[in-house]
Amino acid sequence: MSARDDILGRVRAALADVSPAVSVPAAPRAPDRGDLVALFDERIADYRAVVTRCTRTGLEEAVAAALGGARAVVPPGLGLEVAGAVVDDGLSAAELDAIDAVITRAAVGIAETGTIVLDHQPDQGRRAISLVPDLHVCIVDASQVVADVPDAIALLDPARPLTWISGPSATSDIELDRVEGVHGPRTLHVLLVE
């Protein structure tokens, strides 16, 4: 018998007397938090990420300021002129390692948890570009901010690879002392556009 059939057979035998029907209580909703954009801003900042609020017309200037002259890679569909940036056309991991920063957009922002979700569409690029460079500048439109995790899950497409980001990379593995910045970008700079 194949391992597959064997395991499925054992599962069925183990549950022979167990009814598969069980009522699953609906996950509760958090109470209304009022101004979601303000909450999103505050909760991201709690992770020691940098948040800058700007207007649509001030975005180019805000990006330049966030980069501070760092050499950046951008996804092909960013939809924004960034002076001196390299457009990703399948750069190798080693090539990405030589670049200081990346600029992406996002798919969703979650206010309750201060989370940004990337679904790696052309305005965000493939997963590697927002991972290897040390500074991630992420542009989130205020209209993309939802209240909580269930709202994000309802909007996101599971067929796409997703990266949920809550602050810069961090570890608490040594004496539970939180240190920002291990393997992912050590600085996360969110530009919140209104």
């Binding site: 194949s2 391992a3 597959r4 064997d6 395991i7 499925l8 599962v11 035998a13 183990a14 549950l15 167990v18 598969p20 069980v22 009522s23 699953v24 209580p25 609906a26 996950a27 509760p28 958090a30 909760r43 709690d46 991991a93 390692d97 979650i110 309750e112 948890t113 201060g114 790696h120 493939r126 997963r127 590697a128 991972l131 290897v132 995790v149 269930p150 899950i153 309802a154 599971p158 067929a159 690879p161 997703l162 990266t163 949920w164 980001i165 809550s166 990379s169 961090a170 570890t171 608490s172 593995d173 040594i174 004496e175 539970l176 002392d177 240190v179 910045g181 291990v182 393997h183 992912g184």
Partner: protein, 506 residues
């Protein structure tokens, strides 16, 4: 190879050794109290927490009760998304599949994301025997691997090491396996983390094959989920050409929407954060993005055994958050190694016997590694009633030793305890009896516990099985009940019969 560390002594013996290690105890007390407080703060923020726990338990319970259907759905979804699905009855089969994938690409190394399942099956050792080096990339796992040590906590496997020890391990060992630590390395956590970043980056950039586990596997969409903090997970899941994920069959949830209660429950329970820094989800292969060859190994290794246990089945709901470890008074004192498995603490005390049976002495001792205080159930995000499972497992240990000519000491001790605790009057009598024993033992005691309290060493007779592994604190000469009766609740003079005034606390 099962989930237990080979050659590990039974819990009582290992616990005794751990209790004598004051460095270990202070590292642990500091660490568990820190996470415990963080968890309590972020859980208190969520008004609907109890309803969320019910929803989380419901999602996992529903998935388990119809597991065969969900596994078939998962297999079909994964295959549709371009992944290759393998099934492994046990550790040996799972390790062989991973080794075969690595061999087919001609590699002599793989990078690994921290995964309990691969620890459970002893994958690193199995790959090493095949000439393949498995590099752990989680900081704590790296500390454990370089220190040639064993993990002692689900979330923070190197919780038993302090910063000075980590610095020493990095200086001594990093150069043997790759980029050495800088000579001027200090013991600042940020500096140590920086050294790990430099050391591992060259491995991430050149690795062809990565191995991961998964926190959740979504049946209807074929999506795997990895929850992490450092970005080492993202590196492994994104940069290599080939990805193999070893996933226990109990990781299944039915639908994409089921991730909602789980992703709200796990980070707050685990690291005490509103959300962990990184969560990655992927469904098979995405052209032009990430690994273009994706394998998923669905692992049984005792899970169907646990599934058949009516009381114990609920342990398969576990999402490995480690909250139960951090609140457990037994874990806090003895640490993770005493449990002899990658699954320590309260969950380990039930999961190891459920996965492996209780025929060997090491596993049979685990259901006794608890005071049944119930703190683990209170914090469990999926409401696993660990105390009830412990009690049921104890009964199974006793049953499995019924044929023994000499009754197991634990069986005798626990039966006596159950009889005593069931009746307040008997408890009063027993306390008085142990007070008498305390006066006798105090005179002959050979050991002093920290704080100067005398301790009994090994006792003769029926208690030998218990004290052979514990420095039993000598019972106080007067029990609390006796003191209360004599002093009318402390309103009379507080002198005991030896004439010394009692100090407060301790």
């Amino acid at each position: 190879m099962s989930g237990t560390f080979v050659g590990m002594p039974a819990f009582p013996t290992a616990a005794r050794a751990a209790l004598g290690d004051t460095q270990l105890r202070s590292n642990l007390a500091h660490a568990t109290h820190t996470i415990r407080d963080k968890r309590a703060a972020v859980v208190a923020e969520v008004e609907e927490w109890e309803e969320l726990r019910l929803a989380g338990a419901g999602v996992k319970e529903a998935a388990l009760r119809d597991l065969a259907t969900h596994l078939e759905t998962l297999e079909a979804s994964l295959t549709r998304a371009g992944a290759t699905v393998h099934w492994a009855r046990d550790a040996a089969e799972a390790c062989a599949i991973v080794a075969q994938v690595a061999h087919s690409h001609g590699v002599d190394e793989v990078v690994k994301v921290k995964s309990m399942a691969t620890g459970e099956i002893g994958l690193n050792e199995a790959l090493e025997a095949e000439g393949i080096a498995a590099w752990e990339t989680d900081l704590a796992e790296l500390i454990v691997q370089l220190g040639e040590d064993l993990p002692s906590h689900i979330l923070v496997p190197a919780i038993h090491r302090n910063r000075a020890e980590v610095r020493e391990i990095f200086l001594r060992r990093m150069g043997d396996v790759g980029r050495p630590a800088p000579a001027d390395l200090t013991d600042e956590p940020a500096v140590l983390a920086g050294a790990a970043r430099e050391h591992l980056r060259e491995k991430f950039l050149r690795a062809k094959v990565a191995v991961s586990g998964a926190n959740f596997a979504v049946a209807d969409t074929g999506t795997l989920v990895v929850v992490e903090s450092e970005g080492n997970g993202r590196m492994c899941l994104t940069l290599p050409e080939v990805l193999v994920s070893v996933v226990g069959i109990e990781k299944v949830v039915a639908t994409w929407g089921d991730l909602d209660p789980m992703l709200r429950l796990l980070p707050r329970s685990s690291t005490g954060e509103r959300m962990n820094p990184y969560t990655s989800t992927w469904s098979g292969v995405t052209p032009g993005d990430g690994p273009q060859e994706v394998h998923v190994v669905l692992l049984d290794n005792g899970r169907t055994r646990a599934l058949a246990d009516d009381v114990g089945r609920q342990a398969l709901r576990c999402i490995r958050c480690s909250a139960c470890l951090n609140v457990c008074p037994v874990y806090e004192r003895v640490g993770g190694h005493a449990y002899g498995s990658v699954y320590p603490g309260p969950i380990g005390a039930i999961l190891n016997p459920l996965l492996n049976g209780v025929s060997d002495e090491q596993t049979a001792s685990l259901p006794y590694a608890s005071s049944l205080c119930g703190a683990c159930f209170e914090v469990c995000p999926v409401r696993i009633d660990i105390p009830s499972v412990l009690v049921d497992q104890r009964a199974q240990v006793v049953d499995s030793h019924r044929g023994d000519r000499i009754p197991k000491a634990e069986a005798v001790a626990m039966k006596a305890a159950a009889w005593t605790f069931s009746d307040a009057r008997r408890l009063g009598l027993a306390e008085r009896a142990s007070g008498l024993a305390g006066r006798v033992m105090g005179r002959f005691s050979r050991t002093t516990l920290p704080g100067g309290r005398t301790a009994a060493g090994r006792l003769p007779g029926p208690a030998a099985g218990w004290t052979g592994a514990r420095d039993l604190p000598a019972p106080p000469k007067e029990s609390f009940r006796e003191w209360w009766a004599r002093t009318d609740g402390g309103t009379h003079d507080d002198q005991d019969e030896s004439g010394t005034t009692k100090g407060g606390g301790s």
